[in-house]
């Protein structure tokens, strides 16, 4: 951690990085922490090592938030996503510093934060459009009005990529919540700082409690519990070994979980955003009704 500032002689106050569950910032119930070190080997933060019980609490919070968030108006969801972008823009410098502390070069950090903000804007704009793009009115042969619309899958787990630490998480998170899902995300194991600060941005952006829950910890420890959790409906994995991802798919089969391995996606590429990222955590509902006097 930073020592006394040579110029001012002041000892800076270090930030305690905690979990984000149900709109609160608790420490892990396990009391465990991982020391995060920079390339020089200095401890830059003690990061909570979330336990399966923290994960459980996060899923409970996400499930509780689901009815409200999934039925919130598309307009409101778009507004909130836009607000997240605004808040991130306002705190951009904090994120530059945190990314740099995690070893990202200054230029890359600036670029990453900019891309992240733009990605949020992209999905803020999608919130009230993807339903139109993914829906259909189906001209059935009988005297029925028939239409298909996307609805959120429910509670979605996310294992964020280790890099880019902020852009990766947000690129996975934004389409999932834009689509009305609630999320339990594992922050990048080796680059958790900006993710956890992003939780503060979420918290300040009118995102209802429980819609996004962020945990820091070990993929190896937490992924199996996420994959096996019977109240998690979908799982996006961007940071796991092939064997871990396959195991999560096997585990997820127990409740026919939609488990998608997106390891290796280039999150700064052009197709790293778009409506089909929203579609991946949507279910299609088809409704029939007679047409008659």
């Amino acid at each position: 951690m930073s020592n006394t500032d040579a110029d001012t002689g002041r000892l800076p106050v270090a930030k305690t990085y905690k979990l984000y569950i149900g709109g609160k910032f608790p420490r892990t119930e396990s009391g465990r922490a991982n020391a995060l070190r920079n390339s020089a080997g200095d401890v830059i933060a003690n990061v909570c090592r979330a336990s399966r019980k923290d994960l459980r609490s996060a899923v409970v919070a996400a499930r509780a938030a689901s009815p409200g968030w999934s039925s919130a108006s598309a307009y409101l969801r778009g507004q909130i996503l836009y607000r997240i972008a605004e808040m991130l823009e306002g705190r951009a410098r904090q994120f530059h510093e945190e990314l740099e502390r995690e070893g990202v070069s200054a230029a890359v950090a600036v670029d990453e934060v900019s891309q992240t903000i733009d990605r949020l804007i992209h999905y803020a704009g999608w919130a009230d459009k993807y339903v139109q793009v993914l829906s259909s009115i189906n001209p059935v042969a009988s005297s029925h009005f028939n239409f298909s619309v996307p609805e959120p899958t429910g509670v979605v787990g996310i294992v964020a990529p280790s890099a880019p630490g902020l852009l990766g998480l947000v690129s996975m998170l934004a389409p999932v919540i834009a689509g009305g899902n609630c999320v339990v995300a594992l922050a990048p194991e080796r680059h958790p700082l900006s993710s956890m600060s992003f939780a503060e941005v979420l918290h300040a952006s009118d995102v209802p409690a429980g819609v996004v829950n962020l945990l820091t910890g070990q993929v190896e420890e937490l992924l199996p519990h996420l994959a096996k959790h019977m109240d998690v409906n979908g799982l996006l994995i961007a940071d796991a070994t092939a064997e871990q991802a396959a195991e999560a798919q096997r585990d997820g089969a127990e409740n026919i979980k939609r488990v998608i391995d997106v390891t290796g996606v280039d999150w700064s590429a052009a197709d790293a955003e778009g409506v089909y990222h929203i579609a991946s955590m949507q279910e299609t509902k088809t409704t029939w009704h007679p047409i008659a006097n």
């Binding site: 009988s142 005297s143 029925h144 007679p290 047409i291 008659a292 006097n293």
Partner: protein
């Protein structure tokens, strides 16, 4: 009959038309063959109210119809007679005499048939005249104008009054469903007519298109079933107009059979109002007997 009360029609359960159509398609998909077909065809004949309701009706025309009623096709043994001959009040006496002791009933339309647009007193006089001339059955029309205007009490009171005027004659209440605009309205009118004391409910005058249809008839049959479940009182049903071939008549019988059950499968409780149905049924019966398809030239037209 002072205890009769107009029911709250807003509480009548709604009808889904597409569902009704689908159910009717199921009835039509029944395949009626062999013995069941012969039995059904004979039953159909026995349920016919052989009808002539023209401004041009004359005693001669009515006598010919009455002859047909008693001699449907004498070359075929064991044929039933039709249930009734249905005429205007002015023709009741002629029909009564022509039918003699055949056992075939005389039915008369009344109440300013077919529009029903006359003062109540005229309707009652019309009814009494028909009864006095020897009508066994009265086919009245409801005041559709009043019904569509929401004046259900008037419609109800008229039926009650006509029922009283009928004396011993049985009362069939014609809803003229082709003017009611929806199956919900048909259902409400059926509920109203039955509550007012109708012995039968009947779809149509035959003067308005569409006349009887399977969906309309099904809804009316279901009201009859509901009333029977609730009160134990049986009410009869008469689809009229538009049922001109034997196959369709058999589909109607399937519908009665599966909606109301065997107790209604006789001419005490079910009638067809029709003028040309009988000959098509006869042709089918002869075809069943001979195995050959028939020509209309071999069946008397009256």
């Amino acid at each position: 009959m002072t205890d009769l009360r107009l029911p709250d029609l807003s509480r009548v359960a709604p009808v889904d038309t597409v569902g009704v159509d689908e159910r009717c398609a199921r009835f039509r998909s029944r395949s009626i063959k062999k013995d069941a077909k012969i039995q059904g065809l004979k039953l159909t004949l026995s349920m016919i109210d052989l009808t002539t309701l023209e401004g041009a009706d004359t005693p001669g025309k009515v006598r010919q119809l009455c002859a047909k009623a008693q001699h449907l096709h004498d070359r075929l043994p064991d044929l039933p007679n039709v249930a009734a001959v249905c005429v205007y009040p002015t023709m009741v006496a002629v029909a009564r005499e022509a039918l003699g002791d055949s056992g075939i009933n005389v039915a008369s339309v009344s109440t300013a048939f077919p529009s029903g647009q006359a003062p109540l007193q005229v309707k009652l006089d019309d009814t009494r005249a028909a009864v006095d001339a020897g009508a066994d059955e009265i086919d009245m029309v409801i005041a559709r104008g009043a019904f569509l205007a929401g004046d259900y009490q008037t419609v109800f009171d008229e039926i009650v009054a006509v029922k009283q005027a009928c004396g011993d004659a049985h009362l069939k209440v014609i809803l003229e469903t082709g003017e009611l605009g929806s199956l919900d309205r048909v259902k409400q009118a059926s509920v109203l007519a039955i509550a007012a004391g109708a012995d039968f409910i009947k779809t149509s005058t035959g003067k308005i298109q569409p006349a009887a249809t399977m969906p309309v008839t099904l809804v009316m049959l279901q009201v009859i079933a509901d009333h029977f479940r609730k009160t134990g009182r049986m009410v009869g049903m008469k689809p009229a107009g538009g049922i001109s071939d034997a196959k369709l008549a058999l589909h109607y019988l399937v519908m009665v059979n599966e909606t109301l059950g065997p107790a209604w499968m006789n001419n005490t409780w079910f009638r067809f109002g029709a003028s040309s149905l009988a000959n098509d049924v006869l042709m089918q019966l002869v075809k069943q007997q001979t195995g050959h398809y028939q020509s209309a030239d071999y069946f008397s037209k009256d």
